[in-house]
Amino acid sequence: MKALMSQLAKDVLADPQAKGQLRAFLAAKSSRAVAANAAEAAAPTVIELRTASRTLRLLPRVVPSKSV
C-alpha cells in the first residue's frame, strides 16, 4: 500500500539538491532535538526546491501524530 506522501514531497524527492537537503534533515533531526532541549537550537535545515518559475524554500518539521 502507498504510504502518505504529498505531491510536494514527491517533488522534493525528484530534485537531487532538495533530496540531499532532505537527507541532511533526516540525519540531523535527532541531534537537533538534543540541542533544542538545551536551548541551543541550531539553524533549521532549509530545503530549496527549484521549479520552472521560482525556488521554493521549505522548512521541514516533525508534527505530532493524531493517532491515539
Partner: protein, 253 residues
C-alpha cells in the same frame, strides 16, 4: 438430487448482507476473518435486512410490487406441496424476482465500496470525527498509522519517516528513511517497508546524553546506496514513525 429449499432460500436472502458486510470493511487480514461468529451473523443479518427493506420499499414505490409474505413463508416450509405452489408463484414472476435479486446483489457489491471510498476520502473515520465510532475500520491499524488517515483533510503531513533498529552480525544498527510503500502479510501483520533516502548508523553512535555543541554538526548516519531500501518488519526490533510537514519559509522567500 435432493435440495434443501428452505436453506437455499435463507442463504439467498442473507447473501446480499454478507457481500455488503465484506465490501464495506477495510481489513488488513486477507487469509481468514477471525471475527466472532455472533458478530459475523448479526452484521450479515443487519445488512441483509437493511438492503431488503430498501429494495422492497423501492419496488413498492416504483413498480407497485409488494412482498408476498405468504409465498416466502411457504418456500421456507417443510411441506412439499406448499413449496411447489410457492415455486409456481415465483416462477410466474421470474423476471421481476431475478431483477430484484440481481440488482440487490450488484448494489451490495458496489455501494459499500463507494461508501468506504467516501469515508476514506473525507476522513470521516479519523480520530475526533463525529462518526468515528461508527465508521472506524478497526481491522486496519497499519492504515491509520502509515497513511496519515487520522489527520484532518488539509492538515495532513507531507511524508512519513521511519526509523528501525535492526540487528546485523550481533550489532544493532539504526536505519531511517522516507516511507514510500508498506506491505502486509495475509494475517494483517506488517511484512515489509520500502524506504527512500535510507541511511544507517550503528546504534553505538548514538547522540550524547548531554548536549554537545559539536553533536549536531557531526554526521553519524551514512547513506545506503540504491533508490529503494526494503526493510522486513520481522527484522526490526523497534520501529519509530514520525510525520514530517514541509512549510514554505516565508522569512527566506
Amino acid at each position: 438430487m435432493n435440495l434443501a429449499l428452505p436453506a437455499l432460500v435463507v442463504f439467498l436472502l442473507l447473501l446480499p448482507g454478507a457481500v455488503a458486510r465484506s465490501r464495506i470493511k477495510l481489513v488488513e487480514r486477507l487469509s481468514l476473518d477471525y471475527s466472532p461468529l455472533g458478530q459475523v451473523v448479526s452484521e450479515t443479518v443487519a445488512w441483509a435486512a437493511a438492503l431488503h427493506a430498501l429494495w422492497l420499499a423501492g419496488a413498492s414505490l416504483v413498480f407497485k410490487q409488494v412482498l408476498q409474505a405468504d409465498v416466502l413463508l411457504r418456500l421456507l416450509s417443510a411441506e412439499p406441496g406448499a413449496q411447489t405452489r410457492a415455486l409456481d408463484t415465483v416462477a410466474a414472476q421470474a423476471p421481476a424476482v431475478a431483477a430484484y435479486g440481481g440488482s440487490l446483489l450488484l448494489a451490495a457489491y458496489l455501494v459499500p465500496a463507494l461508501v468506504r471510498a467516501a469515508v476514506m476520502r473525507w476522513r470521516l473515520d479519523r480520530n475526533g470525527a463525529p462518526l468515528r465510532p461508527l465508521l472506524r475500520f478497526h481491522g486496519a491499524p497499519w492504515y491509520y498509522l502509515l497513511s496519515g488517515a487520522d489527520f484532518p483533510a488539509g492538515e495532513a503531513p507531507d511524508f512519513i519517516t521511519v526509523s528501525a533498529i535492526v540487528n546485523i552480525a550481533n550489532q544493532p544498527f539504526l536505519f531511517t528513511g522516507v516511507l514510500q510503500h508498506y506491505y502486509l502479510d495475509p494475517s494483517g501483520q506488517l511484512d515489509r517497508l520500502v524506504l527512500r533516502e535510507a541511511m544507517r548508523r550503528p546504534l553505538s553512535a548514538d547522540k550524547p546524553l548531554l548536549p554537545d555543541a559539536d553533536a549536531a554538526a557531526t554526521p553519524r548516519f551514512y547513506p545506503v546506496d540504491g533508490d529503494y531500501f526494503v526493510l522486513r518488519y520481522s527484522d526490526a526490533i523497534t520501529l519509530n514513525v514520525e510525520y514530517i510537514t514541509l512549510t514554505a519559509d516565508t522569512a527566506l522567500a
